[in-house]
Amino acid sequence: MSYDRASHGMDPTLPPPDAHAALAPWWLDLLALPASGLWPFWAGALGLAVVAVGFPLLLGRPFGVSSAVGRALDPRKELALDRRDDEAPLGSGMIVAPARLPLPRAAARARDTWLANVVFLGSIALGGFVAAISSGTFGVSSYEGVYETLVARGPLGLVALFGGGLFVGFGTQLSGGCTSGHGLVGCARMQAPSIAATATFFGTGVLVSLLLAWVRA
């Protein structure tokens, strides 16, 4: 089973699923649940903003997923930094020599342990799990239908997904942020590097997607 936009009444070329929709004011469509059962844009925006604002308020450092990915996948360095922090816990104000470790500027900020970063990433998956279970879509793949038509099906499709993931992993680490760090937080603070990075990855996403749709249609 896949998510088929047309069968959910989402295809803009199809008439609205019920006649009453034509009588409702246009802005009601923006506030209402889409026919697919997904959240309207404002609910998603609120959810993202709650995390992006709540995170630094509670934890004293900026919210960002790709930096947590980078740290979670660098256990040797992070566990060594954990041992350094054990000697002078956050908030103690103690001054410690950086031992044998070089102390880059980034590590001087409020930081969490390697394990805490892993737990943070795991809890994103847990959130997806709760959402899928509560909406009855657990185990349903969205990589059928549209994806198979546009990119590839079967093993080749999985290779393309791996390749796409490779670009995402390498690109976000090279750029120093992703949709959360550069996109939400950096843009909200009007930081020039983050706005440029966000415009670049959204722009590239649009161009490549239009190209895919044009070539494969």
């Binding site: 903003a49 900026p62 990433l121 959130g127 899928a132 393309a160 490779l166 995402v168 390498f170 090279l174």
Partner: protein
């Protein structure tokens, strides 16, 4: 050297959680909220992300743009401490180009892959393997050739 030591002092901003267990709880709460939101709004569905990138459905663009506006409003109202801006470096734009390419192909950004795994979307395992490989590859490349800090 002495200056570097003073700069490196771990100092918590007032109001920030310092206890390790409570930090874990706050991180978990943030992660669950993020994963739940990404899933319920449809950022974890290839069809929806593709519809956003091709302008067939502007809803997910709306999620992002309004999300940025609400975040800016939240920052203005609450003035959180510890928001360190990301510096310019030679990888900012090339990295974003590669990320955009990967996002268009796979339909996933780093947070989305994790939410997809939680949703039980089996193909997301291939994306996650790619993200892990890409992250490790970048570290190897950075340690060998690159001379700047990215985060």
């Amino acid at each position: 050297m002495t200056d570097a030591r003073i700069e490196g002092t771990p100092q918590a901003a007032p109001g920030v959680i310092t206890g390790p267990v409570r930090r874990l709880a706050a991180l978990s709460l943030s992660g669950i909220t993020l994963g739940y939101t990404l899933s319920r709004v449809g950022f974890t569905r290839y069809d929806e992300v593709h519809a956003m990138f091709t302008f067939a459905d502007l809803r997910l663009f709306g999620v992002f743009v309004v999300g940025v506006i609400l975040t800016a409003l939240g920052f203005w109202l609450t003035e959180p401490r510890g928001l360190v801006g990301k510096p310019w470096h030679p990888g900012t734009i090339p990295g974003a180009l590669l990320f955009g390419l990967g996002w268009a192909i796979s339909g996933a950004c780093p947070g989305v892959v994790l939410a997809q795994l939680g949703e039980g979307q089996a193909p997301a395992l291939a994306i996650a393997a790619g993200v892990i490989a890409g992250t490790l590859l970048h570290r190897a490349v950075q340690r060998r050739w690159l001379r700047w800090e990215t985060r």
